[in-house]
């Protein structure tokens, strides 16, 4: 065997470890065992990341709001998730008397299962993808669409007005923002020419000099990335789009009537949704596991993937600490009157980019069209809005 550089070994360390574990088993069950090991890895890594993220979020928000955040359990409060987990497990599981018990029970399970499925097609490093499907992107969105139904099931089965209001808001919001989410990904598919996420990453894994060919560094890619980020934030019900679970309005929205571990499952599902959508955004626009500068490829690919995901999570937390919540009509108007038309225009611009061929002309033309459209749509959208002292209709 030829001597492989140490960086390659570290890059492939999880694959090598899996194959090493696998070779103890009989040949017949090896492919099956490899898949099971991959599933175990995903089922351990992402909930672990979830536990860490809850601490980071609470400490980060605390920092932004001039307070300390959790600091009692363990060093700097880092064992807080363990305490939270024990609390969630030992709490009484309350099911409302009038609730639809079966649907109430199934809803959190459907959510967590559907969210976990999305991770199956994400390439988390070189060769590190559980199932390399020809239509991986479609699979991801199909699983994402299934979570909407679980939200509705949770809200409806609770027989609680806050829950049903939260569920209706959540479903309306998710349907509205799913369209731009899909359409902004379509422009990537148009250029990469494949629905397979590994092929999309490989298409971006080239360098001019030391700079990468990530899609976010093209005019259409930048526009699509912005629209994708907005839609992804709305799709995961994160602030400023957290109307479905706005604490000050709806207690906790669709999972108001959940307690104990079922509540923890909703919490888990929401954060896993954030991880998977961030992973998808990184894969589509930020080159997936490829390094941001060509000489940084020495650092293992999986570190880059998880760094990009965690950077996106940090932005989620930052936005939560910064922006106020939207109103329902603002939310819908924004989706249908700005984000959707802009993504549709971006599809045309992407086609233009594809057929104008190499050269600087397409950079100028595509950037000009998108910038002009952005300014015009912003101006017309803002035109009728009067900005002045705030007036209250119902609380004068």
């Amino acid at each position: 065997m030829a001597a492989t550089p140490i960086s390659v070994t570290i890059d492939q360390i999880f694959i090598l470890f899996r194959d090493w574990l696998d070779h103890f088993l009989p040949v017949a069950v090896r492919p099956f065992a490899a898949v099971v090991l991959g599933v175990i890895a995903i089922a351990c890594v992402f909930p672990g990341l979830f536990a860490l993220t809850t601490v980071f979020e609470r400490k980060g928000l605390g920092r932004m709001q001039n307070r300390l955040g959790p600091n009692r359990v363990g060093p700097f409060g880092f064992f807080q998730p363990i305490a939270d987990g024990i609390k969630a497990l030992t709490k009484e599981d309350v099911i409302p008397f009038r609730a639809d018990a079966v649907v109430h029970f199934i809803a959190p399970l459907v959510l967590v299962v559907a969210v976990f499925m999305g991770f199956a097609v994400l390439p988390m490093g070189r060769n590190m993808v559980l199932v390399d499907m020809d239509s991986g992107l479609l699979f991801f969105f199909a699983m994402g669409a299934s979570t909407e139904l679980s939200v509705f099931m949770a809200g409806w089965s609770s027989r609680n007005k806050y829950s049903i209001l939260g569920a209706m808001r959540a479903v309306g919001q998710m349907i509205s923002y799913e369209v731009p989410l899909l359409l902004s990904s379509v422009s990537v598919v148009m250029i990469a020419g494949s629905l397979s996420l590994t092929k999309i990453v490989e298409a971006q894994n080239h360098y001019t000099g030391i700079f990468p060919h990530w899609y976010v560094f093209t005019p259409w890619g930048f526009a699509a990335f912005l629209m994708f980020s907005i839609a992804a934030t709305a799709e995961t019900n994160r602030s400023p789009f957290d109307l479905p679970e706005g604490e000050s309005e709806l207690v906790a929205g669709y999972f108001t009537e959940y307690s104990g571990f079922k509540f923890a499952l909703f919490f888990l599902g929401e954060y896993l949704g954030m991880f998977s959508i961030s992973g998808l955004g990184a894969t589509l626009f930020l080159g997936g596991w490829s390094a941001p500068l060509s000489f940084l490829n020495v650092i293992p690919s999986w570190i880059w993937f998880f760094s990009k995901v965690m950077a996106a999570i940090f932005i989620f937390i930052w936005m939560r600490g910064t922006l106020p919540r939207l109103r329902q009509d603002q939310l819908m108007n924004f989706a249908w009157k700005f984000v959707l038309p802009f993504t549709l225009l971006n599809l045309v611009v992407t086609a233009l980019w594809r057929f104008m061929g190499e050269g600087w002309a397409r950079w100028v033309v595509c950037t000009a069209i998108l910038a002009l459209a952005y300014v015009l749509m912003g101006r017309t959208g803002m035109h009728r809005k009067k900005f002045g002292p705030r007036s209250y209709r119902y609380a004068e």
Binding site: S135, F141, A142, S146, L149, F152, I164, V171
Partner: protein, 166 residues
Amino acid sequence: MSFAFYLIVALTLAGGLAAVLLRNTVHCALALTVAFAGLALLFLGLDAQFAGFAQILVYIGAVAILVVFAILLTRSSEAEQEGVFSKSWLVGLVIAAGVFAVLGWAVLASARALPWQAAAPIVTVRDIGNVLVGRYVLPLEIVALLLTAATIGAVIVALHEKERTR
């Protein structure tokens, strides 16, 4: 025909039957979703990835959601007090049988019209896309026109309702 096939068929049929027989309308809608999921699994069992995932995306992600929305917005989701059988169940049965007969006849006739192939062809998403905007572009455009007309119609109906209540 493996064990998995029979399992999926049982699931699909159970979902379909439950959708017809349950009393609570929302339960019916959820059971219908199970049937949709079973159909998607059947597509996947036939190695038709694109059709299977499109089935999940469109039917579970959109159609099922629209169904439950329509139920919640139009009438109370409380269970029916009287039986679940409509008065015109016989007519419904005849129409359903007629539609099924036409579809079955079309499927069986198409099997004879097409050349017999020994192995299932390997179809990638790229092939489906090429055929969709190449050979079948006219049907695609007609469907798009129909859907646009339906959307505009729905908007007009909704607008009318709003004016009346004002």
